[in-house]
Amino acid sequence: MAMLARLSGVSKTFANGTLALRGLDLTIGDGEFLTLLGPSGCGKSTALRLLAGLMPPSEGTVRWQAGAAREIGFVFQDPTLMPWASVFDNVWLPLRLRNQSRKAAAKEIEQALALVGLADVAHVYPRELSGGMKMRASIARALVTHPPLLLLDEPFAALDEITRFKLNNDLLRLKTELGTTVVFVTHSVFESVYLSSRIAVFSARPGRVIAEIDIPEPLPRDESFRLSPAYAEHCRIASQALQRAMPDQAA
């Protein structure tokens, strides 16, 4: 698989002295669905932010494939919609920051909203939406610029299980339809196995990759995969790797 981006020997120390990452090597392949799996506070989110260029690494490098458009869509843990703007205007934001008028962007916005099934509520304010719908709006906003790389930081952690399963399926469908490369952060073994083509397991802080697990079953997947023996086997392997990630923690 061609490489899209690579973090080599990356460490990150925060201003308060916290060492979040140490010696992280991670390659993001073009077109893959990579999940960063690890215990809470292990620096997965930090790795994602370094990749997005939201902060510089303290040591090491973040390299991009030559000629790759460094266009990134980012979905945060919370939907982080602007409460004073309609769903439509929220999705407009990335294009607006590129000086596209509301009118010129309208078609792109409507497409992005249709993609996540929110065409009907374009002119509703965020507070009138359910948690799942807010997250869909957030995903539409991330996709409206057609980024080749989509980063998601525990986006479904706060949702109920039924909604989460539904959004998992929608995300896989979008990923295969659009051919986007996805890097997804979660602490759920089951979610990571269901979604990914590859899992990078992080150790507890300071974080680094301690295991990489390939999930060869083709994307997109459906509920039958959740019930298959292969799924159970992948989950077992991922759980064991996660156990090793926290060697000296009581529980």
Binding site: L54, F74, F76, D78, M82, W84, R98
Partner: protein
């Protein structure tokens, strides 16, 4: 109309009717106490006499009311312009905030009554009153707007960084809208304080003599033992304060009603 909706309508009627009834009851009680005990108007005028005085003295009082309202709103406009501008500067450059915030605090904590006589030394009475009203209205608007500008959602700030938005864009599209509820809260406080500042300063300026606002009418009527007129002027000041409060509450509802939880309908 369905049953629950009718019940809700009845409840909202009660919400309005009850305070009005209690208020009217209190006024009626006052009137009755004055009449039954034959209390002289120079001690405590009856509400009916106060109402008559407002009508009778309206040419004089309306002029003073206008002066007070004009000063209050001029001061408030200056406070809004100064407060918001300074808050924006604070939010853009930390060193500006560190350098100038102490001055704002000093102005805030020093009682306005103590500053007013000094201002009268340097300024004519009307401008001194204006400056006093400005000083008291300024701080809540400044400090609330500073908090509002700083309270923009962290993730949204990161999102703006991700799309390489300029500082100007970040200010206009993110920080100012985030600050709006806080600013309007400051405005509600500042509006009331501007009126208080205008009144207090005018009382302090009293002996300087050129004032013609409502506070001056109260002082003047006091010297003449015209107690009903004192009450009449007091009623007009209260009504002005209530009007200012209602105006800014309405403005807040108008601007925030669709999206901010503070203005959410109470039944939901």
């Amino acid at each position: 109309m369905s049953e629950p909706r009718r019940r809700a309508a009845t409840r909202s009627l009660m919400d309005i009717a009850l305070p009005i009834l209690v208020f009217l009851g209190a006024i009626g009680l006052w009137e009755a106490v004055v009449r039954l005990n034959d209390i002289q108007p120079y001690l405590l005028p009856a509400p009916s006499l106060i109402a008559q005085t407002i009508v009778k003295d309206w040419p004089l009082l309306s002029g003073s009311l206008w002066v007070t309202v004009k000063i209050t709103f001029s001061a408030l406009l200056l406070a809004i312009a100064g407060g918001v501008l300074l808050a924006v500067l604070f939010s853009q450059w930390k060193w500006v905030e560190r350098s100038f915030f102490p001055f704002a605090v000093i102005l805030q904590v020093t009682p306005i009554v103590a500053i007013a006589p000094l201002l009268l030394v340097y300024l004519d009475a009307q401008n001194a009153v204006l400056v006093c009203a400005f000083i008291v209205a300024f701080f809540p608007i400044l400090s609330n707007t500073v908090i509002g500008l700083a309270s923009a959602d962290r993730s949204l700030v990161e999102l703006f960084q991700l799309y390489r938005a300029s500082r100007w864009r970040q200010l206009t599209l993110l920080r100012l809208p985030s600050a709006l509820p806080y600013f309007l809260g400051g405005l509600k406080i500042g509006g009331g304080l501007a009126l208080i500042g205008a009144i207090v300063a005018e009382i302090a300026a009293g002996s300087a003599g050129q004032g013609t606002g409502l506070a001056f009418r109260i002082a003047e009527a006091g010297y003449r033992l015209n107690i009903p007129r004192m009450f009449a002027a007091l009623v007009l000041i209260s009504v002005t304060g209530i009007a200012i409060f209602l105006f800014f509450s309405g403005l807040s509802q108008l601007l925030l009603g669709r999206w901010h939880d503070s203005e959410r309908d109470h039944e939901t």
